[in-house]
Amino acid sequence: MRDVAVVGFAQRQMSHFDGSPTMVELLVPLFAELWEQTGWSKDDIGFWCSGSSDYLAGRSFSFVSAVDAIGTLPPVNESHVEMDAAWALYEAWVKIQTGEVDAALVYGFGKSSAGLLRRVLALQLDPYVLTPLWPDTVSIAALQARLGLEAGRWSEEDLAAVVAGSRSAATANPYALLSGETSVDKLLAEPMFSDPLRKHDCAPVTDGAAAIVIAAGDRARSVCERPAWITGYEHRTDGQNLSLRDLSRAPSVAGAASRLDLAGVDVAELHAPFSHQELLLREELGLDDSVSVNPSGGPLAGNPMFSAGLIRIGEAARRIQDGTAGKVLAHATSGPALQQNLLCVMSGTSTGGGN
């Protein structure tokens, strides 16, 4: 495999983006930030890939106008996934592995606030026997949370502790929507929203966008003092059928992890939109307390749909680039109750796979 590294990262998160669902206006300054970080222009990018959703925007082909932010005449080598942009980054990483290109820019965007998000996401379920009941995404997560609670794998206090930890860590994250010091007791005094989940157990509805530049070998070294080298990149899905799935587990996480070397990971950014899912992911990944989980505050501090997974990769990479970590893990999820999962391991030292 070629050595490929994250060399640029930019993000925006907000509770409401007052602009078009194509989010072109938000992407333009993001790209400008990346050109500043790398010293590159669009001509240096060999491949572009984005992640977004028509249903989030409420119209077909929502990604089509987003390419205007690139400036696509002359034309560009470009693709799009209807997934979180963490998977767009995977497609770009694969593209670089083919040897066809050396650098790629990947972006994700989504205006979650345009509709009623938890209801819109009911359209991800089986359209014959589930969507007609409109099981909202919070309810599905709550079914999962209770299974773990009643099996004794976590307690309500554990969930509150995850939230308190997120809020506290997020005070250092200028992009976080929710941050500040709180306590388990205070959190447990809040009313239930979707019993056993309280509102603070659920990621806030967040608008936003993020973009990452990755590059191979010397191209990466030329623009970044300490590139975050991707040493492992795996993703898996579980089946969705809620009758067949053991909702309390996410075997696709363990499956992806089985192909990776997670020993020595200092920092893990986990895409857990619900507090109990951080605990579930820790279990599936076998992360012990020595790993700093979600130092950015994680999705509970801000969860812009279709870029929050990419943001986990960007946040984790940032720890390599600023020298605070030597090896990091980023996780992204998609679908109801952690159905689909992606893991990206990055390190300050490349594997020596060459350019």
Binding site: D54, E78, V94
Partner: protein, 386 residues
């Protein structure tokens, strides 16, 4: 490690129909997938990853349907990707699957693209009114018809060229058991006599709305070498430009021209008209055949229609185009691009049945989408790339 060789070792298609009311969405996909896997002689356990493509989710009213389809596709425990690049998506999906093998990441990848348009109404899904904006008073055909008029004006093409293309593709479809429109009475005269819908486009010069799925199995060099008739991938390309831009050439888009130049370079082709044996090109409205012949470099600008008029694009012509009957005969939108790519593979594998071009050694599969702005192509060959 460098770029690895990859080849198509299995192709599967559903029968394309206006309404496949006999199957669910999972059933529709499995029909194509099971045929592709049988063709490739692989089972689910042999597949390393699955790539799903389809056009807008609003067509079926399911957000990211690959999530619920993962059960029927045997995707649990595997990597699953979902591509959406507008009308070119079927082609892009195949290209992404190819890149998974060419990168050395996987050995055998299933790509499947589908649309079940009968679940809703494509015209509705594509023209949901955007507030403040002028409603599109013309539907999908109305978007492209003005550009066809521009082409006719720019090239001086005689007005009957479109009907020639439509009659040819519909006649080709009679030889394709999977095609949606199979009417032996469709002739040049009947097309000319059909209603002018979006003047200058007649009813019989437009694509149908279909249900259907198409799947391909793409494999690495070792697997392909064991296959009796692999279609080796000689090149893949994708290019994008804006939907609208000042003085953008919508008749002969730059992205299409540059994509063609790039893929010919990859495949070592200098004269596409003589070096490519047949081409399956995304032609949803008949006039796009001469337009794309120029865009793809098979003819000089302004003279694509002459190639069509000469009969060169007929099944027995110098460059057979749309041997399967093309998009004009079957159009499950999200799958339409992959059907083009699959037909190219079938041709060089010598597996195209009645619509086989004798001794086709190298074929082009082409797809486009959006406002003639997303292009995806591949070139496949009977011979291992040099």
């Amino acid at each position: 490690m460098g770029k690895q060789l990859a080849a198509v070792v299995g192709v599967g298609q559903t029968h394309y129909r206006a309404k496949r009311e006999d199957v669910s969405m999972p059933g529709l996909l499995r029909e194509a997938v099971d045929r592709a896997m049988a063709d490739a002689n692989v089972g689910f356990d042999d597949l390393d990853a699955i790539v799903v493509g389809k056009a807008p989710d609003l067509f079926e009213g399911v957000m990211m349907p690959e999530l619920f389809l993962s059960d029927a596709l045997g995707a649990a425990g595997k990597p699953l990707l979902r591509v959406h690049t507008a009308g070119s998506v079927g082609g892009s999906t195949a290209n992404v699957a190819a890149s998974l093998v060419q990168s050395g990441v996987h050995r055998r990848v299933l790509a499947v693209a589908f649309e079940k348009q009968s679940e809703s109404n494509a015209m509705w899904a594509l023209s949901i009114p955007v507030p403040f904006i002028m409603p599109v008073h013309a539907g999908a055909g109305g978007y492209f018809a003005p550009h066809v008029r521009s082409y006719i004006r720019r090239s001086g093409a005689p007005v009957h060229i479109g009907a020639m293309v439509a009659a040819k593709d519909r006649q080709n479809a009679l030889k394709n058991e999977y095609a949606h429109l199979r009417n032996p009475d469709t002739t040049f005269e009947s097309v000319m006599a059909s209603q002018m819908l979006w003047d200058p486009i007649r009813y019989d010069e437009t694509c149908p709305s279909s249900d259907g799925a198409c799947a391909v199995v793409i494999a690495d060099e070792d697997t392909a070498a064991a296959s009796p008739n692999p279609a080796w991938i000689h090149g893949t390309v994708m290019r994008t430009e804006p939907t609208t831009a000042a003085e953008r050439d919508q008749v002969n888009p730059q992205a299409g021209r540059e994509a063609a130049a790039a893929i010919y370079k990859q495949a070592g082709i200098t004269d596409p008209l003589t070096e490519i044996d047949c081409a399956e090109i995304y032609v949803p409205f008949s006039w796009f055949e001469p337009m794309w012949l120029e865009n793809l470099g098979f003819a000089a600008e302004g003279s694509g229609w002459k190639l069509t008029e000469s009969g060169a694009t007929a099944l027995d012509g110098e460059l057979p185009v749309n041997m399967s009957g093309g998009v004009l005969s079957s159009n499950p939108i999200g799958a339409s691009g992959m059907i083009r790519f699959a037909e190219a593979a079938l041709q060089v594998r010598g597996a195209a049945g009645e619509h086989q071009v004798p001794d086709a050694r190298r074929a082009l599969g082409h797809a486009y989408g959006g406002g003639s702005q997303f292009f995806a192509m591949w070139i496949v060959g009977a011979d291992r790339p040099a």
